[in-house]
């Protein structure tokens, strides 16, 4: 589904973010990417999101080379990916319903579809009661659940979660990981980056370990080893 073919990203001679990275992610896989800060995890995700171009090598999504997409096709492409960030990135002047509806509106969905899908997806993340609350009235874990709901509402092929538990306590971390697992069980590919040893060890799924912009380990049922 996603295929990195000898990808390097070099900002300047001194700053090499990725070096000769190759790996493939199969459909419906749950892949965790671990590594120290500056190991190249975020750069990797940016390349998948077409926010950045590789210095050399190719990144494929299915059979399309992402970085051959024309600018006009990028928004269409991004609708196939749901993104979740450490800092949630919710719109503070919109309530929970509007934050999720906003993403569907941007994707050009009809009003009726929006009205029926938003409550449904909130139910999936267990936040039905807070549908009319504003982000500042929610806890960190609840905000992250809204962000996940927003990411999955357009039924993307893949969810990218960039340290989604970085700002959360252990209980909320556990719950967010459970939700991601549930989404994966429903058939969506998940790519997760994290620093959290406990998360990785409890998942028991594939782990790619990165160091200095290179893939140093790729284990089928990996553990957090750095």
């Amino acid at each position: 589904m996603i295929y990195f073919d000898k990808v390097s990203k070099i900002y300047t001679d001194e700053s090499i973010a990725l070096q000769d990275v190759s790996f493939a992610v199969e459909p419906q896989e749950f892949v965790s990417i671990v590594g120290h800060s500056g190991a190249g995890k975020t750069t990797l995700l940016k390349l998948i999101l077409a926010e950045d171009k590789p210095s050399s090598g190719k990144v494929f999504f299915g059979s399309t080379n992402i970085h051959n997409l024309r600018n006009n096709d990028v928004p269409e492409y991004r609708r196939r990916i749901g993104v979740v960030f450490q800092d949630f990135r919710l719109l503070s002047d919109k309530n929970v319903y509007e934050n999720i509806a906003f993403s569907m509106e941007a994707a050009g969905r009809g009003d009726e579809e929006i009205e029926s899908d938003v409550p449904h997806v909130l139910e999936l993340v267990g936040l039905s009661k807070k549908i009319w609350n504003f982000p500042h009235e929610l806890s960190g874990g609840e905000k992250q659940r809204v962000a996940i709901a927003r990411a999955i509402v357009n039924q993307p092929d893949i969810i990218i979660a960039d340290e989604p538990t970085g700002n959360l306590d252990p209980v909320n971390t556990y719950e967010i990981v459970q939700i991601l697992k549930k989404i994966n069980d429903l058939g969506t590919t998940v790519i997760l980056t994290t620093h959290n040893k406990g998360v990785i060890d409890s998942l028991g799924r594939r782990v790619i370990t990165m160091e200095n912009g290179q893939v140093v380990r790729d284990d089928k049922e990996g553990r957090y080893i750095i």
Partner: protein, 306 residues
């Protein structure tokens, strides 16, 4: 699909406008200044044009005849002049009328009246006053009269005052033309400055929304969908600023109307404003909408890269 998108863009445009009330207020005020500049340009050029027109209308040629000229000969010249296509009007002022007018002009000056009496005879010749259809045709008429003067040997025409007036008229025309040019250049510079200020104010307004733009991009909103609401807000700024400008200019021109009608030759800018309201309305509204839309379009571009 397109209709839904357009509807959403317009709705979120209005939402953004009312939500950022303070930013909207400052953008509108800056735009009112820009539009006032444009309105002033319209009024200044109207005043200058009216003055020029007025001065051109005052231009005429007087043909002075010698005192011995027969009235029939003078009338004959008048008739010939009437046949010329350039001539709009020829007025005959007889020797007696000229004397009357002269006496009236100097009725308080005993010395002049006394010397007139001492002369006994009427020293003034008959005059023909010629108005051309177009100021540029005076030259031709003057040449025609000159050729007549030389052709008939002992001429009954003593003087044609065109060449003396011409210098003054040309000077005035030049003065008005350069005043108009200077005024236009100044106003255009001011308009450009205020457009730049408007652009920056709107850019500031959009800076507030940069996070929202980033999120919209990530959820896969198209460039059109992201930019649309901002352009709508820009257009709303333009419309509101346009209406405010038109309202402000009503009392301003009313107040200035009296001043200008005394100062400039019979031109009241309040009357000009009310009579040409439709045209001014269109120019101001169109400028507001175009400036608002273009400023927003350019300002949001910065946040759309990547």
């Amino acid at each position: 699909m397109l209709w839904t998108t357009t509807k959403r863009i317009i709705r979120s445009g209005f939402f953004n406008f009312s939500r950022n009330a303070f930013v909207s207020l400052s953008s509108v005020l800056v735009m009112v200044i820009t539009l006032s500049m444009i309105s002033s340009l319209i009024f200044v050029s109207a005043i200058l044009n009216a003055s020029l027109q007025e001065i051109k209308n005052k231009v005429d040629i007087n043909v002075y005849f010698v005192t011995t000229a027969d009235e029939s000969d003078v009338v004959a010249v008048q008739e010939t002049l009437r046949t010329l296509p350039e001539v709009a009007e020829v007025t005959y002022v007889s020797r007696e009328d000229a004397l009357e007018a002269f006496k009236k002009l100097h009725e308080n000056d005993q010395l002049i009246l006394q010397s007139l009496d001492e002369l006994g005879d009427n020293p003034l010749g008959a005059t023909l006053n010629i108005k051309a259809k177009n100021p540029s045709q005076y030259e031709g008429i003057a040449l025609f009269l000159q050729s007549k003067q030389t052709a008939e040997g002992t001429s009954i025409i003593s003087d044609v005052n065109y060449y003396r007036n011409k210098v003054t008229i040309d000077k005035l025309t030049n003065f008005i033309a350069s005043a108009e040019r200077l005024g236009s250049i100044l106003t255009i510079i001011l308009v450009i400055l205020s457009v730049i200020i408007t652009l920056n104010t709107i850019r500031l307004a959009i800076y507030v929304s940069r996070e929202e733009i980033a999120i919209m991009r990530l959820v896969g909103a198209s460039t059109f969908y992201i930019r649309g609401p901002f352009v709508v807000v820009g257009i709303i700024y333009g419309i509101v600023a346009g209406i405010l400008t038109l309202i402000i200019f009503y009392p301003v021109t009313y107040w200035l109307g009296g001043v200008t009608s005394n100062f400039f030759i019979g031109m009241n800018i309040f009357d000009y404003y009310t009579q040409n309201f439709g045209q001014i309305f269109l120019v101001i509204m169109a400028s507001g909408i175009v400036i608002g839309a273009i400023s927003s379009y350019l300002a949001v571009r910065k946040y759309l890269s990547v």
